[in-house]
Structure formats: structure tokens, C-alpha cells
Amino acid sequence: MRVVIAEDSVLLREGLERLLRENGLEVVGSAGNADDLLMSVRGRSPDVAIVDIRLPPTHNDEGMRAALQIRAAHPAVGVLVLSQYVEIGLAMKLLSESAEGAGYLLKDRIGDVKEFVAAVRRVASGGSAIDPLIVSTLLSRRRSDDPLGELTPREREVLELMAEGRSNQGIADKLVVTLRAVEKYVSSIFGKLGLPSSGSDSRRVLAVLLYLRA
């Protein structure tokens, strides 16, 4: 699996490279700014680009713009955006078309090596990775007529993991239940929320996020 990294802090960039290599991923490009990143994506045909949202020169929105550009010009390349702040607005901007091959994680998550590598692999192979904080923030909003209230605690857990972009198998592993049990929860959740049960993992991510955000 081929990865390019865009991160302007040398310390972090080197740490990330080491982390990915030690976990069997191939780092084919490493950039300190958006232009180098776009060049690497064009020249090295990576499976996924890991992009710091704040890149030089202004550290405003260069990283995000580069990420959106890659999503538009290279749909086959997954994009995982890392940010020190969680912004639902930015996550939704990144996923505006689809959640396929897209991820938005808090930068802190790279300390949890196993989870992080799993997220990178997921995005690289066309799946999604949405920061749990985003999902829990969206879930924390209560409405009086909220069908979310009808979910059992277990179903709620499954919903959260689903919204983060995990596959049914991933959810089963995480909750230590059988795949069939997860499938049952999922169809029950979709029924209660009135959502059409959709095909791929990332399509249901977008459906759930849009539902929660509305």
C-alpha cells in the first residue's frame, strides 16, 4: 500500500513515516507543503495521501484546499486529513460528494498506532475514517422528537462505529460479537431511523452523518 504524507513539522513527518513503514505501508512521498504534495500525488500514484490541514505558507486552508483538489482530480487516491481541531463543517466539506476514500481525524489519533494504521488502510482502499469526536458531538444533540432516543445502548454503539467508517467485520471485532449480530443491529438501526439500507460502508457513513447533522 503506497502512501504520501504532507506535514510541515519535520518531527511529526518523520514519526509518521516510521510508524507507517513499521506497519507494512510504503511511504512513497513526503512533502512539507501543498505544492510538493500535489506533485507527489501526480507522480507517485499513491493509494492514500495523509494531509495536515494547516500547511505553509499561511497555515490557513492550504492543506484543506489541496485535499479537496486531490479528491476532485484523483478520485482513486484516498485522502486522510489530519487536524488539531475537530470541525464538523470541514469534515462535511471534505465529504460533500461522498465519503468514499475520505477521512478526517484529529491529529492526536496517530498515537493509537493500531487504530490509526487501520484507518489509513481503510481510506486507502476506498473506505472512510471519521473522527469519533465528530460522531459523538453530532450524537450528543438531543431533540424532543428524536428517533435516536429509541435506539438501545448497543445499537447506539454500533451506530457510532458505523459513522466512523468501520465495516461490519470491524464493528464485530471491536465489540467482540459475531458478524451476524452486527448485521442485525445495523438493519434494526436503519429501520428505526427510517434510513434506506445502503450498499457500501462509506455510503452508509455519509447517510448516517447527514442524518445526524440535519
Binding site: 518531527l11 509518521l16 490557513n60 481541531y85 464538523i88 463543517g89 498506532v113 444533540r141
Partner: protein, 546 residues
């Protein structure tokens, strides 16, 4: 002038007409403006015009006096015209011109009389020298013609310099002056060169000379009207002493729509308008003139007006006197505004400086401590992965990572409080979405701005919404809230409404005061409605040029 009289009746009538009209107008002007020498000058012109007719008598002394002054009246008319309106000759050139004209008119006349040819009553005759007399009269007439034409030139230059007079009667008067001078010159030249229709030319000259006092009377009448406009001004100042109306009132009274009022601020050492904005006095601009207004020994203001108003010093004086107290009031008003403006400027600078500093601190945290902690957490994570056989060490590393995560959480809160980087980076709409999502109650968010707003406005709006939604969570006991942001008509309107218990303390809440400060420093206004039991509504309106 008497030599070749045709039709004595006509000449006598015209001569008396000029005498009477100048004397009467002079008397009127004198009583109207006792301090002004112009009236006396006119009386003198009329009187001398009369004295000249003594040469029609047969008394030797009277004849000699009248005859010796024969050419003084045209010079006096020139003097009168150039001395209008003050009665004084302003420039050195003008004074020299008039002095030379008098010298020519009287001196050469005496030479002529000494040369003989004036009949039996001439007491000054020394001998008979007809050739000398003829030469003298030619020089005399040519010189006076030249002086008159020079006078017309002076009038024209003045007109060019000061522009069109504000009153049409003044314009008329100057035209009559110029015409009369040209007629005198034409008459004399005609004499010297034996031109045609000399009698008709003479009558016309007298007629035009007599017109000048009539034009002057019309001017006086207009002055009356001008004074009545001063009366109107007084009346207006008594009924509506609004500083904002003062300029318009003065402009009406002076009939100068271009009038500008500049108030003097001694502490600033400069002039400002009523809004406290600096005003430059027009120096070296010929299309503008300035009149300084003092009151009780202190400089109060300056009037910037059309230069033609300089011809009406009495009107200017009357108007500025009438506006005295109102001007002083307006000056204080302007001074207050200038101080407010200065205060607003310094407040904005302080806020901007603070903002820049906070932004820098946030950047430092983001690039420094936060990055290092993340790198450290990554390092520990890698260790943790490597120590598969040592569950105890793994547990400790995991705990350490947990501590780092907490620190990062706290740092994030601090950094975000310093400066909402997402606002600068991605705009209000994106930033507000997170605020709405994290609020304690469901928030309906509607952002209706097509493009990015100025950063200080975006940051202010962000804090306004952030603080308001925090208050909703803490105090309002609301079940829902809405945030609306729209840009229309050169301003941005931000409205935050909840359906809670209301009764927010708008006086003591320092949070609300701080928000009002943020809005006001941008020239905006924050209003809060919070009736007990009726929810709370915050509305901020901030000017924003589109």
C-alpha cells in the same frame, strides 16, 4: 468739456442727473453703512460734478474754479468704481493709477488754462499759447482714456480672481462700471481724433454714468434682502439649534451652497467637520476663500466659502455674529465627536493589536507544544506496539498516552480561546457549524453571506455566537435555539434567539458587556431582549461595506 456744447438743455439735464443721483446714492450708502467710505466718495463725485458746472457762470472766480476741475469728474468716477465696495483702494497699483489720473486731470488743466483760450473769465491765463494748449488737451484726454481702460482691466482681473459674484445685482454693477469707463475712454478718444457723432456719444456717456448709482441702489435693496436672510437665520437658530442644521442655515443666509464649516479644535491644533473628521483649509486655492470666526477672543471656526463673498464683508460679519452661540455649540459638538473618533480609533487599534498577539500565540501553541506532544504520543505509541510481551510496560505507556491526550485537550481549549484559527482559515460558516453542533440544545443555523467577511468582523461574530450559545446552555434552560447571520444593506446582522426562561442580566453580566464591546469597536450595535419567561434574543448589527 463745456467747449462744444450741443443742445444745452440735454447736457444740463444729464449733468444734473449725474450730480443728483451720485449725491443721493452716496447719502443713502453713508447712512446705510456709516463706517464705509464708499458713500462719502460717491457724494464727492456728485459734488465735484456740480462744481464743474460753475464754469458755465460769468463770475471770474467761479469760472476759474469750475474750469480748473473740468476733467476731475471722470477720474473721480474711476476712483469710485475701483474703490467699490469698501471705499478704499486695495492695491498699490490702483492707488498709483488714481493718483496719476488726478495729477493729469488737474495739472494739465492748469497748464491749458495758463496757455489761454478760455475766454475773459479765466483768472489763470498767463499768455496766449494755442499750440501748447492744444498739445496739453490731447495728452490729457489720451492719458485719462488710458487710465479708464486700465480701470476696466483691473475690474476684469478681479472678476477672474474671485469668480462670479453670488448676487446678480453685484454682477450688474460691475458691468455698468466697466461700460461707463469704456464710454469715457471712447468719448475722449473721439475728441482727440475728431470721431463721429460726438454729441450722441456724450449723452450716452452721461446716461451710463448715471446708471451706476441705480445699479448700486438695486444692490442696496438686495442687501436688505440679505439682512432679512440673517433674520431668518436668527429665527432658525432660536427654534432649532441643531448643530447639523447650522451649516445649511449659514449657506442659505450667505447664499453660498458650497459653504463648508470647519471647527477649530485647539487641543488637536486642527480643523474638523461636525462629525469630527479632519478638514483642510484651502490655501492657495483661488476658487475658495476662508473667513476665520472668533468669539470672545478665542478662535472658533472657519468658513470656507466662494471668494465672491469677500465683496460682502458686512453680510459675512452679520451672519457670523448671528450664528455666534450656535457656532460655539457646534464646535463643542465637533470636538466631542473628534475625541470619540480618536477613542474609537485607539480602541480598534488596541483590539487589533490584541487580536494579532492572540493569533501569534495560537500559532506558537499549534506549531510548538501541540505538535511536540503529538510526536511524543506517537513515539510512545510505537513503543507500546513493540512491547507485546510486556503487558505491564504497555499498560504504563498507554496511561502516559492518556495523560498526553488530556494535556492536548486542555491545550486545544486554551488555543481555541486565544484565536479561532478555523475562522481565519475557513470562514465563519464552517466555524459556526462546530459551535452549533457542540451547543447544549439543538441549534438551527442559517448563514447567508456570499463571500468572506473582514477577519475582525468574522472573529467578533464567532465569539458573539460562541458566548451566546454558552449562555444558552448555562442559564436559559432552553429547548432549542437559532443562529442567523445575514449580510444586507452594507451591514452584517447576527441574531441569536433561544426559547428559554429569559431575564438575562444585561447590566451586570460581564460576558454580555464584553460582547457589546466587541461589536461596538467595529462601529456596530448589540441589543438584547430578554423578558422574563420570554426567551432571549441578541441582535448585533455591524457595518460592513459591500
Amino acid at each position: 468739456m463745456r467747449g462744444e456744447l450741443g443742445e444745452p438743455l440735454v447736457i444740463a439735464f444729464l449733468g444734473n442727473w449725474v450730480t443728483v443721483s451720485y449725491v443721493l446714492c452716496g447719502l443713502l450708502a453713508w447712512s446705510h453703512r456709516p463706517g464705509n467710505r464708499f458713500g462719502r466718495l460717491m457724494i464727492a463725485a456728485g459734488f465735484v460734478n456740480f462744481v464743474v458746472t460753475l464754469s458755465w457762470t460769468t463770475n471770474d472766480l467761479a469760472f476759474t474754479i469750475g474750469q480748473s476741475l473740468d476733467l476731475v469728474p471722470p477720474v473721480l468716477f474711476l476712483h469710485v468704481f475701483l474703490a467699490f465696495p469698501t471705499g478704499r483702494l486695495e492695491g498699490r497699483f490702483e492707488r498709483g493709477l488714481i493718483a496719476a489720473a488726478y495729477a493729469t486731470a488737474i495739472g494739465l488743466q492748469l497748464v491749458r488754462m495758463a496757455s489761454g483760450g478760455f475766454g475773459p473769465h479765466n483768472l489763470l491765463e498767463l499768455g496766449s499759447h494755442p499750440a501748447a494748449g492744444l498739445a496739453a488737451v490731447r495728452v490729457q484726454l489720451l492719458a485719462v482714456s488710458a487710465f479708464c481702460v486700465a480701470g476696466v482691466g483691473i475690474l476684469a482681473v478681479r472678476r477672474l480672481r474671485t469668480g462670479r459674484p453670488l448676487r446678480r445685482s453685484l454682477s450688474l454693477l460691475v458691468y455698468v462700471f466697466a461700460l461707463a469707463l469704456l464710454m469715457i475712454a471712447a468719448l475722449f478718444l473721439s475728441h482727440v481724433f475728431d470721431g463721429p457723432a460726438i454729441n450722441q456719444l456724450r449723452w450716452a456717456t452721461f446716461a451710463v454714468l448715471g446708471l451706476a448709482p441705480i445699479a448700486f441702489l438695486i444692490g442696496l435693496l438686495h442687501d436688505r434682502l440679505a439682512r432679512s436672510s440673517v433674520g431668518d437665520l436668527l429665527l432658525q437658530l432660536r427654534t432649532e439649534p441643531d448643530p447639523a442644521e447650522l451649516r445649511d442655515g449659514l449657506a442659505r443666509a450667505l447664499r453660498d451652497p458650497s459653504l463648508t464649516l470647519a471647527y477649530w479644535l485647539p487641543d488637536f491644533g486642527s480643523y474638523v467637520d461636525l462629525g469630527g473628521r479632519p478638514v483642510e483649509l484651502p490655501e492657495g486655492d483661488r476658487r475658495k476663500a476662508t473667513t476665520l470666526i472668533d468669539r470672545e477672543g478665542a478662535h472658533v471656526a472657519a468658513l470656507i466659502h466662494a471668494p465672491a463673498l469677500d465683496d460682502e464683508p458686512e453680510l459675512l460679519a452679520a451672519v457670523t455674529a448671528a450664528a455666534g452661540i450656535a457656532l460655539e455649540n457646534a464646535r463643542l459638538h465637533a470636538e466631542l465627536r473628534a475625541r470619540l473618533e480618536e477613542l474609537r480609533g485607539s480602541r480598534a487599534r488596541i483590539l487589533d493589536a490584541g487580536q494579532t498577539e492572540r493569533k501569534r500565540l495560537e500559532r506558537n501553541l499549534h506549531d510548538g507544544a501541540q505538535q511536540r506532544l503529538i510526536a511524543l504520543s506517537l513515539e510512545l505509541g510505537l513503543w507500546e506496539e513493540g512491547l507485546r510481551d510486556d503487558p505491564e510496560a504497555r499498560k504504563r505507556l498507554h496511561r502516559a498516552r492518556g495523560e498526553i491526550a488530556t494535556s492536548l485537550e486542555e491545550l486545544r481549549a486554551v488555543a481555541r480561546g486565544l484565536h479561532p484559527a478555523v475562522v481565519s482559515g475557513h470562514g465563519l460558516e464552517v466555524a459556526l457549524e462546530q459551535l452549533a453542533a457542540r451547543a447544549a440544545v439543538p441549534v438551527r443555523l442559517q448563514v447567508d453571506v456570499a463571500s468572506r467577511l473582514p477577519e475582525r468582523l468574522e472573529v467578533a461574530a464567532f465569539y458573539l455566537v460562541s458566548e451566546s450559545l454558552a449562555n444558552v446552555g448555562k442559564h436559559a434552560q432552553a429547548s432549542s435555539a437559532s443562529v442567523e447571520l445575514a449580510r444586507a444593506g452594507g451591514r452584517v446582522v447576527i441574531e441569536i434567539v433561544d426559547d428559554g426562561v429569559g431575564g438575562a442580566d444585561t447590566e451586570r453580566g460581564s460576558g454580555l458587556r464584553g460582547l457589546a464591546d466587541r461589536v461596538e469597536v467595529l462601529g456596530g450595535r448589540l441589543r438584547i431582549w430578554s423578558p422574563s419567561g420570554g426567551g432571549t434574543r441578541l441582535r448585533a448589527e455591524i457595518p460592513c461595506a459591500s
